[in-house]
Symmetry: C2
Subunit: 247 residues, 2 copies
């Protein structure tokens, strides 16, 4: 059984404002929830699951989270799920406090200037985790990393990358000694940039790119050489190629 | 004015079966529709748009498509749109017949083994267009390239890449003289593979990867070196990095 108030509360966690006020977020589906429970980076508040999911859970986890597990019916899960088709389990986790000031010394730091699609942000977080980038610095208009779609697409990488929301202009200005690379169309071929040991790599909004004032701060404008005719590359794909090229 | 029958017909084009039967597909939003009209690779059947969109259309295009333009009300567009928020224009285009047999000589050919997410397929088509890959060979269970979400994310690249659906096992078998590279976890670092002038690069399903029988046909298993902890990379990101590395 799940009360009306709980249904309402969980549904409200779809909204950033409510997530921020409660310092909580939701994760859905066996794969994500299982990974988040396994890595235990985020404290688990409650688990709502079907009988089937619980039966498949290993004894260790089942015991550890026994007091937080609520077995509910499919139609109840349907009500609280944000997925088109609910998927056996939904869990509420505590958000983690981002580490700020960030450690930018002797490492690459990714900077996102208004990346607005949650799917893109999720994919970029996974890429950062793949290439061992410790920090992603996000402008305040960048998608919320606790948006359910982001959580879905990052898997446990969400817990391994430090994601900081800030005024990126200020942050970059403060770190004038660290080299800044802006990913733009028509910049220097990244193939010729070489390995980057330390620096900010800045990626922009899906349609508008990086804002003028941020581009103006860049020490180097970098690009992926186009061999064919596509107008642009998806921002997450660009992030992947650039990090591959300079790591 | 738009008739009930037309509304029903356009809605039905959301389904692959109907798209195949009619050999038509839909594109939505000013950017995509405009690009498809500009490049004129796909014959335009009908355009349904708001007054606002028509006013912004340049005279050349407005004249060329005059007989095919239907100005409708916002609430009518809402009815036929597959987007959450309809976006000024929806157009119906004729599908293009894929070129088969494909030209695989002296070029890279991308092979997709059951890539199921339309967003991923769309992104991969754009990547292929960026790196001047002429052909994508798709297994029959790969997402339909005329799915509205694919059309949305490929932009005009859809018209510039030859996308062929076939039994990829058979196709690869027939071309035993062409080198086959399978993207897997734990293969040879692509950084050491060098430039590829001719060959099939095979990418697999989002969760299951490449099927065993296809992996078994590969001459070389290739991977992107992992420096951090993420379990995997998104398949479109992997496609981008691999094509960057070997192009």
């Amino acid at each position: 059984m799940i009360t009306k108030a709980t249904v309402k509360y969980i549904q409200s966690l779809q909204h950033k404002k409510v997530r921020d006020e409660n310092n909580m977020f939701i994760a859905e589906g066996p794969k994500v929830v299982r990974e988040l429970l396994d890595t235990a980076v985020f404290e688990c508040e409650q688990i709502y699951c079907t009988e089937t999911w619980l039966e498949g859970l290993d004894t260790n986890l089942a015991n550890r989270y026994a007091e937080r597990i609520n077995v509910i019916k499919d139609f109840e899960l349907e009500k609280i799920s944000a997925l088109k088709v609910s998927n056996n389990v939904l869990a509420i986790f505590h958000k983690k406090t981002a580490l700020d000031p960030i450690n930018i010394s002797k490492t690459i730091t990714l900077v996102l200037d208004d990346v607005q699609d949650p799917g893109n942000l999720g994919t970029i977080i996974r890429i950062a985790d793949w290439f061992a980038i410790p920090t992603i610095l996000c402008s305040r208009a960048t998608a919320d990393c606790y948006n359910p779609k982001v959580v879905q697409s990052t898997m446990a990488s969400l817990g391994r990358v430090n994601i900081v929301y800030a005024d990126i202009f200020e942050k970059l200005q403060k770190n004038s000694n660290i080299k800044k690379y802006a990913a733009v169309l028509g910049g220097k071929d990244i193939n010729g940039v070489g390995k980057i040991k330390e620096g900010f790599i800045i990626l922009g909004n899906e349609s508008k790119g990086i804002s003028k004032e941020i581009v103006a701060m860049a020490d180097e404008k970098i690009s992926i050489k186009r061999l064919g005719n596509a107008e642009s590359l998806n921002v997450a794909v660009a992030a992947g190629i650039i990090l591959y090229a300079v790591s």
